[in-house]
Symmetry: C2
Subunit: 219 residues, 2 copies
DNA sequence: CGGACGTTTCGGCGCCGGCCGAAGTGTCCG
DNA sequence: CGGACACTTCGGCCGGCGCCGAAACGTCCG
């Protein structure tokens, strides 16, 4: 079956810990330079360069060159979905983790971005808030009044799928992804309701954010 | 990031063409013996044995031994979902295929099973029929009258997620997976409405099936 | 019991692929 | 123009892994 060979090729791209680390870093949705990624994964720039070329050729990443820099980012939401599906599968089964490991990943569990939308406890809270408001169904489809609500927040439907369930690997609960999830995440950052912790994917709700959520009727 | 290393390990399991071929075969939802898989993938039994052990250890497959046979099957729907997501990603981009290749996979495109539910053109037809009947929404969530309709066909909700969208790699269109999709597939086989072609995943609608679909109001 | 057969273990072979450092290319900026 | 810097290419090293065949193990059945 020729199709499974193609699958094997994609899997091979992700089967290397260095390349996987690159993809994990890029899951924050931003563009990284080659050296940033090399430092992040602790390999020589030459090594990183070769890995990036392979990932780009395989369609997982796209580059856009700017002067002497080579910026790379995920090739699109479908790559993020692929990665998220795989991490959900590979992710920590109900293994109780040690205390320090737990506290280290605590911030990530509380809130994080998954490519372009909110995940972690923040993502779950958002989901249940939206559910209470009747914006989404329990299967995370957008309701008609929900679409009105979204448009009031500046949401414009595009070609991209409006809503999608994304299985969170920390909480094991689906949360809102897709265009709507991405838009809400954007809005929250623009309004200063959420903030990144350093340069990681970890995200916290600011005091203004808590107020804002209440004003919207979210939790 | 330790999580991405786990991802790399899972990816490594699928990064081998022989192991990928095993998984592809097992996507029909049935249990295969070690030698059957070895023959299918054209490797020595000893090689197959080692691959199977790795796949089982990695949680992708489960075995159940019976006398001198070792039956293996996918470890569950979540594995099928993983594989389907990956094939959807790796799958044929809009490349026009040659004529003989096309006719070879024609039967597969017309109808096939994807682990435990219908896919291919048959899956798409089912989806649009269910949509017309108001059983599912366009996002493939089950409606309330739809649930009544399903129960009349013997469907019993369980712990498993009722409905899930599965992206078809031949048609690039989401179709109905999850418990409801699996149940409908079962019903169709039981009633003799659908039949496998040989031992493959390819499936055809029988004449009785065409009548049955009309009786249900499906297309 | 003894042969047939499905499966597993082991040793050995060969190749692929990840890694690095050194040298080369291209870009920026003083 | 010349140095600093981001990145790439190349050669070489090394480990891991997929493959097989031979032999052992376990089960079935006459």
């Amino acid at each position: 079956m020729v199709l499974m060979e193609a699958l094997a090729q994609v899997a091979a791209l992700l089967a290397d810990r260095t390349r996987a680390a690159f993809c994990g870093a890029l899951l924050d949705g931003r563009a990284w330079t080659a050296t940033e990624l090399a430092t992040h994964a602790r390999v020589a720039p030459s090594t990183a360069s070769e890995h990036l070329s392979r990932l780009i050729e395989g369609g997982l990443l796209v580059e856009h060159r700017q002067g002497r820099h080579r910026y790379v980012s995920l090739a699109g939401p479908h790559v993020a979905e692929l990665l998220e599906t795989m991490t959900a599968f590979a992710g920590p089964d109900p293994k109780p983790r040690g205390l320090r490991a737990a506290s280290a990943s605590e911030a990530m569990a509380r809130g994080r971005t998954c490519y372009d939308h909110l995940a972690g406890k923040l993502g779950i809270a958002l989901k249940s808030g939206l559910l209470d408001l009747g914006v989404v169904t329990s299967e995370l489809a957008i309701t008609e009044p929900g679409m009105v609500w979204l448009k009031e927040l500046g949401f414009e439907p595009s070609k991209r799928q409006v809503s999608r369930a994304c299985l969170d690997w920390t909480e094991r609960v689906p949360h809102l992804a897709g265009a709507a999830g991405a838009h809400l995440c954007d809005v929250f950052f623009e309004r200063g309701w959420t903030k990144r912790i350093g340069t990681t994917r970890a995200v916290v709700l600011t005091p203004a954010g808590e107020q804002g959520w209440r004003d919207l009727g979210l939790s």
